[in-house]
């Protein structure tokens, strides 16, 4: 509770200053360390910042997760303030005057919130499920990557500990007992909803990008491009051609054309 208040106060104080020149985004090593659920979150934030046209520097740290105030990556350093995780960062960017969804109607704004919540509840959990509970992916990809920066025996202990933590979280959300098919079904329903909202538009709310576009791109792009032993979730997403096209489009505009790093 105290930290919630502190966060609110920090966001308020932070708002008096515009975007600092030395904004830094901290995340684990991209090539060898980061797990794909974390990568999806990092990509969402990077896309958001690019959409706002904000300058920032990506800092790769092996201990980014332990450095983060909430224990989760990515986290953003704005002057003296540290903001971690996707939603607080979206809020912090907004309070500094970079509000992508400012022009939306109230109904659209609440719709936007609902879609972001949908992604949080479905795609994020599906990613965690695939990364940490699907045995093949866990042993072949997630554990070796998560432990890659540590020496023996920490490279065995720490992934094991993290797996236990994620599993507990998924148990409490009643995701742990699901089968891969059930998870794919959830993802299918979620994509269906997103696909129907997007239709043939360039972005989810017309011709201008919003926070939702950044978050959807971060997750879908990660899920369809990451090489994994199990492609079931990627196959589900690939069935929705307009979502795949959307990913290609955002990738082209905000990364390839601007020569930005992922």
């Amino acid at each position: 509770m105290a930290s919630l208040v502190a966060e609110a106060i920090q966001a308020e104080i932070g708002a008096t200053e515009r975007w600092p020149d030395n904004a830094r985004l901290f995340q684990p090593y991209q090539v060898e360390q980061i797990t794909f659920p974390d990568y999806a979150a990092c990509l969402s934030i990077k896309t958001l910042l690019h959409m706002c046209g904000l300058k920032f520097k990506v800092e790769l740290r092996a201990n980014a997760e332990e450095m983060s105030p909430s224990g989760k990556v990515p986290f953003l350093q704005l002057g003296a303030f540290l903001i971690s995780e996707v939603e607080p960062i979206i809020a912090a960017v907004k309070t500094r005057g970079f509000h992508l969804s400012a022009d939306l109607t109230d109904i659209q704004k609440s719709e936007l919130k609902a879609y972001i919540a949908l992604i949080d509840n479905v795609l994020v959990n599906a990613e965690l499920y695939l990364a940490w509970l699907h045995p093949e992916t866990l042993e072949q990809v997630t554990k070796p990557r998560y432990g890659s920066v540590y020496c023996w025996p920490l490279n065995l202990i720490l992934p094991w500990r993290k797996q236990r933590e994620v599993k507990l979280k998924l148990v409490s959300l009643e995701w742990a007992d699901r089968t891969m098919e059930e998870v794919c079904e959830e993802v299918h329903t979620c994509c269906q909803a997103l696909s129907e909202r997007l239709e043939k538009q360039q972005y989810f709310f017309g011709s201008k990008p919003t926070e939702l576009d950044a978050v959807v791109f971060g997750h879908l792009y990660t899920l369809i491009t990451t090489e994994l032993p199990n492609k079931a979730i990627a196959d589900v997403i690939n069935k929705f051609q307009n979502l795949v096209d959307f990913c290609t489009r955002v990738d082209q505009i905000y990364f390839k054309d601007l020569n930005n790093d992922y």
């Binding site: 201990n63 020496c151 202990i157």
Partner: protein, 450 residues
């Protein structure tokens, strides 16, 4: 009391019959040890051998007392009593037998203690098996629960080597958890260690290997970024040698004697922490007129990373300042800081000059009052990061610049022969802007001091 002497008591005290016990030939024919149950015979048989080497009565007394003391130090007997008697089955007049009556400690003992560390109190729950397999193997299990969120758990097994109670080999497994608010972090350590301690004519040595997994976390959102950057996991595998030579008459309020303590640590036998570290502490005491004692102490330390790519982490660094070391400053209040968090440094030196006197007007003299002393002191020191872009002479000059100095007076209380409590009025005279000073009254309690 009501005793009526029919005649003068025999032998008035002022008449002494002298016999030179050096010339009294002795042959120890028998040693009886009574009361052994769990303890294995071979351990005790080995320990009593010296008494058979006694040739005269003086030697007999010395060696048998030494054996008694050795048996005591094994830590497995509650009580050891010794009787020297003439032997019954003796063929001559010089046959003796020695009877040691021992009472073994219980197989298992449990205790709850309150501990006072450096400005922290904690509860210690301990279980001990003093004599696990009958050869003085001691197994102890401990759990500590402290006021500053310190938690600890440890299992230790140690045994005397070759029956010598002062040469001990031990191994332990432990987990400790502590908060370091002055530096803005908390740490959980899990480790295993092996150590060997042995006495020599010069002093006591200890050699210890420890393999430790250390987990560092920021204490709060306001933790300085310089500390936050060091959060995470590190593995330290280090070999440490310590040497202590204590020739003082008391560890807490000595009146005479010297004390030397050095430690050398090499970290980097595997693991991610790689450095060499050494520190030394010297102390000399001298009694002056009117029960006053002057005490001079000097301490210093240096560490260097052996891998130029890696910096030494905050939990291995030296810190300076506190109510029992560099008085007049808050705990770890001297040296590099960032946003109020002490970062520590890799070089330090510290000097202290104390003048101890009895309390004014000497209340409680010869009893309770002797636990107290008043003292006047001057503390000086500095703590900096060694600058490898400069040469040694430049660095020595830097250590000599911006020196911190504090002086004051106060009362010292000796607590149970192991700890001390100080209440001082201190004036930090020389300080730097980064320091966290504590002028005026300062209270300190702890086991280590300078």
């Amino acid at each position: 009391m009501g005793t009526v002497h029919a005649k003068e008591p025999e032998k008035p005290l002022n008449v002494r019959r002298s016999a030179n016990i050096k010339n009294l030939p002795v042959k120890v024919e028998k040693v009886v040890i009574d009361g052994l149950a769990k303890t294995k015979d071979d351990l005790v048989v080995q320990l009593i051998q010296p008494v058979f080497g006694a040739h005269n009565f003086e030697e007999l007394i010395f060696t048998s007392l030494e054996v008694k003391s050795t048996l005591d130090r094994l830590g497995i007997f509650k009580r050891v009593q010794m009787t020297i008697d003439t032997s019954d089955e003796s063929f001559g007049n010089d046959g003796y037998k020695i009877l040691y009556e021992v009472e073994e400690k219980r197989t298992f003992s449990g205790s709850v203690n309150t501990l006072i560390g450096n400005n922290e109190g904690s509860l210690l729950f301990a279980f001990k098996f003093p004599n696990l397999f009958g050869r003085a193997e001691r197994l102890s299990m401990e759990h500590t629960y402290g006021t500053n969120n310190t938690r600890g758990f440890g299992v230790e097994l140690e045994k005397p080597v070759g029956g010598d109670p002062d040469t001990r080999l031990g191994g332990s497994v432990y987990q400790t958890q502590g908060e370091y608010p002055w530096s803005g972090y908390k740490e959980t350590d899990r480790g295993v260690s092996l150590d060997l301690s042995f006495p020599t004519r010069l002093g006591a040595h200890g050699v210890k290997w420890a393999g430790e997994w250390r987990e560092l976390k920021s204490l709060s959102r306001s933790t300085s970024f310089a500390v936050r950057e060091q959060a995470g996991h590190s593995l330290k595998s280090s070999l440490k040698h310590t040497f202590v030579r204590d020739r003082r008459d008391d560890a807490i309020l000595p009146t005479t004697g010297t004390f030397i303590k050095t430690s050398q640590e090499f970290a980097g036998l595997g693991g991610t922490a790689e450095f060499v570290k050494g520190d030394i502490e010297l102390q000399a005491n001298k009694s002056l007129f009117l029960d006053t004692v002057v005490q001079m102490s000097l301490a210093g330390g240096f560490m260097k990373s052996t891998d130029p790519q890696k910096e030494i982490k905050i939990n291995d660094k030296f810190f300076l300042g506190g109510p029992l070391t560099l008085r007049g400053f808050n705990k770890h209040g001297v040296g590099p800081h960032s946003n109020g968090n002490a970062l520590g440094a890799d070089t330090f030196w510290l000097g202290a000059l104390h003048l101890y006197t009895p309390l004014p007007f000497r209340p409680g003299k010869g009893g309770f009052g002797d636990l107290f002393k008043s003292h006047f002191f001057v503390n000086v020191g500095n703590c900096i990061n060694y600058d490898y872009n400069r040469d040694v002479r430049d660095n020595a000059r830097l250590l000599g610049e911006n020196v911190r100095l504090a002086y004051g007076l106060g009362v010292v209380l000796r607590l149970g022969g192991v700890a001390r409590l100080e209440l001082n009025y201190v004036i930090p005279k020389w300080l730097q802007s980064c320091d966290s000073a504590n002028p005026g009254l300062q209270f300190g309690i702890g086991l280590t001091f300078l």
